[in-house]
């Protein structure tokens, strides 16, 4: 993985000391809140309902055991013993004290971590496929390009005060696991007929109050043009993006109002001027960054096949975990392990300090010291020999991290919601917990198959409800919580925005409503291989409306 050079170390350390000075001046009264707020946000510090919140960047979701151990330490020393992994592959702490935050950031800097650009109207943490560098279907590892974008965008003077925040995601496989079509820029790594690396470029996707699917404006952008073309997009956005209305300031609105074709033309004009500038990526620089992400030396471990068969035969729980949480690796003797942060009835994305340390231990001992955070709020061990799966599983069981539900109905994404978030209108976590308990039986989850439930506590959609197969949006109505249900959303290579199914449900009724939807699906699917999403796309919303509301008029009136 990427290691800081001297510049990086000095830069991050300088920022910590700058922030220490700013916090000191704030606490002494020298700086007023209006002046301080943008400074703290630039360092990832929010104010939530109960306390400050620190959002730490995990670039493209990649970290090692040493870094995970530090995240555990931060949780224990400066917070209440846990952290929350987010849909942007970051981690949030919910209870840090302002006066201790400079020390926390200094500790993070010792392991090459920081909280820069995790807030504010800048280019945020660049996200990537959590199986990068390991997936069997990958064309190329997206992380070197994400790292190049990170370096280019860090405190970029031209792009530090954009009309609104800006999110870039990169995937290196046809199967999109990074949800690139709901990002401001989505980059899809490809090879052309000559075998050269390049990108399909998508622009203007996003969720929030106005969900939009990104438009493809380039089929194949050569690798060397990554920064010049991205800069061209940013310039067009920076110039024409709306600054008069926060709710219309994202690039998706500009793309929508301008039209993708015209926007692409404007980008091309900028690009023509930048293409042969210093932004052209030298091959040697790409090679140097790529070297940081070279795959580990994966020795043949063919003995794992026989062992795995025996272990599975001897332990049904282990077999179920392998079935759901282990994916094929590009090396046949290895697998990619999803460590579920969705225990049945638990809080999606939360991990305690001791759980983080357990993951660090396992990664260091068995998984080439590599850990990923997925945008689905799980942790990943991308390189694991099949021969080591059993001891890893035992370690995860001991840490309470062996829930066998990756990709199933209880693998729920949920934002912090009204339990923490100052923007939320309704709670997300208790809804996720109740759904998890309702559907938690392994046999039932297996029967239902792949089904993604995503829950947001407000229209900002941090819980990705728009792209949930079943999406739940919490709203406030007459001072009480109400949950609107959308169906048919998807955040993959066939991205779709879910459709609102009808009137919302009170907290005590929403789990029943989801169960009606699930039972309706089970009743109408052609066979167990037809997933919820495929079935929904075949039959449309009506059978679900009928089942939920009894008659068509009731739903239509909503």
């Amino acid at each position: 993985m990427y290691r800081y050079d001297e510049f990086d170390h000095a830069f991050v350390s300088d920022r910590v000391e700058q922030f220490r000075d700013q916090v000191g001046r704030r606490l002494s009264g020298e700086l007023a809140e209006d002046a301080f707020k943008p400074l703290r946000l630039m360092n990832g510090v929010y104010l939530q309902l109960h306390a400050y919140m620190l959002r730490v960047a995990i670039p493209y979701g990649t970290l090692n055991g040493r870094q995970m151990r530090m995240l555990a330490y931060i949780a224990r020393k400066y917070d209440r013993g846990y952290g929350h992994f987010t849909t942007r592959q970051n981690i949030q702490y919910n209870w840090p004290k302002l006066n201790e935050l400079p020390d926390a950031l200094a500790d993070l800097a010792t392991v090459e971590m920081h909280a820069l650009q995790t807030s504010g109207n800048c280019i945020r943490n660049v996200t990537a496929d959590h199986f990068a560098g390991a997936a069997a279907d990958e064309v190329a590892d997206p992380r070197p390009y994400a790292e190049i974008l990170r370096q280019w965008s860090s405190v970029h003077p031209e792009f530090s005060f954009l009309p609104r925040k800006f999110k870039i995601a990169v995937t290196g496989a046809e199967r999109d696991r990074a949800a690139i079509q709901v990002h401001d820029i989505g980059l899809h790594l490809k090879k052309n007929e000559k075998g050269e690396i390049g990108f399909a470029v998508y622009v203007g996707g996003g969720q929030g109050r106005t969900p939009m699917i990104a438009k493809k404006i380039r089929d194949f952008l050569p690798e060397e043009d990554l920064l010049s073309y991205t800069t061209a997009i940013m310039r067009v956005y920076n110039l024409h993006g709306r600054r008069d209305n926060k709710y219309k300031a994202r690039i998706k609105i500009l793309v929508h109002e301008t039209g993708a074709e015209e926007l692409a033309r404007q980008v091309d004009v900028e690009f023509a001027a930048l293409k042969d500038s210093e932004l052209k990526l030298p091959e040697r620089d790409v090679a140097a960054i790529s070297a940081y992400f070279a795959p580990p030396d994966l020795a043949p471990r063919a003995e794992g096949w026989a062992s795995l068969a025996q272990w599975k035969k001897a332990d049904a729980d282990f077999a179920r975990w392998v079935q759901n949480n282990v994916q094929p690796h590009k090396h046949p003797d290895y697998g990619m392990v999803t460590i579920s942060l969705k225990p049945i009835g638990g809080i999606p994305g939360d991990a305690t300090d001791t759980q983080m340390e357990a993951v660090a231990d396992i990664a260091e001992e068995y998984a080439f010291d590599e850990i990923r955070v997925s945008h689905e709020q799980n942790l990943i061990l991308p390189h694991v020999a099949l021969a080591d799966l059993e001891p890893i599983y035992r370690g995860l069981v001991a840490a309470g991290l062996a829930t066998a539900n990756a990709g199933l109905i209880t693998d729920i994404i949920a934002c912090p919601g009204l339990d923490y978030c100052a923007l939320a209108n309704a709670r997300s976590i208790p809804v996720a917990q109740e759904l998890s308990l309702r559907f938690g039986a392994p046999e039932r989850q297996a029967e239902i198959g792949e089904l993604k439930i995503k829950i947001s506590g407000c229209i900002n959609a941090c819980g990705h409800h728009h792209v949930g197969h079943i999406g739940l949006l919490g709203v406030e109505k007459k001072g009480e919580e109400l949950y609107q249900i959308t169906l048919g959303g998807s955040g993959d290579e066939n991205t779709s925005i879910g459709e609102i199914i009808g009137r919302g449900f009170e907290p005590e009724k929403v789990t029943d409503a989801v169960e009606v939807i699930v039972d309706t699906y089970l009743g109408l699917r052609l066979d167990p291989s037809e997933t919820f999403l495929v079935a929904y796309r075949r039959v449309g919303p009506q059978p679900f409306k009928d089942a939920l509301y009894g008659d068509k008029a009731a739903a239509a009136a909503a």
Partner: protein, 105 residues
């Protein structure tokens, strides 16, 4: 007019606080001073403005409450959760702020 209390987050640690009858910022809603008429609400607002200007607290708001049998209950769910803390059991096994050695960097 609904009864009102003055709430904010403490500057130093961000913890939710309510103004009590002694004029101090208290971590418990039930200790809050309740304004029941216009003049009292105006006094709360002035106090909040001053505390903000004095850099004691941030995010200062007057919020509606109702009182049943001497127990204050904010009208909005948001404020109830601010007062009572997250509605979920969020830190299983957390032993408190124990002394702990930093991991080797």
């Amino acid at each position: 007019m609904a009864d009102k209390v003055l709430t904010a987050n403490r500057l130093s640690d961000g913890i939710s606080v309510w103004l009590d009858a002694a004029g101090t910022w208290n971590e418990h809603l039930q200790s809050a001073f309740v304004a029941r008429h216009k003049e009292a609400v105006e006094a709360l607002e002035a106090t909040g403005k001053q505390a903000y200007a004095d850099n004691k607290v941030v995010d200062v708001n007057v919020v509606d409450v109702e009182e049943f049998d001497g127990v204050l209950r904010p009208l909005r769910m948001r404020e109830r959760i601010r007062a009572e803390g997250p509605s979920i059991s969020y830190a299983a096994g957390y032993a408190g702020l124990i002394a702990t050695a930093a991991p080797a960097a």
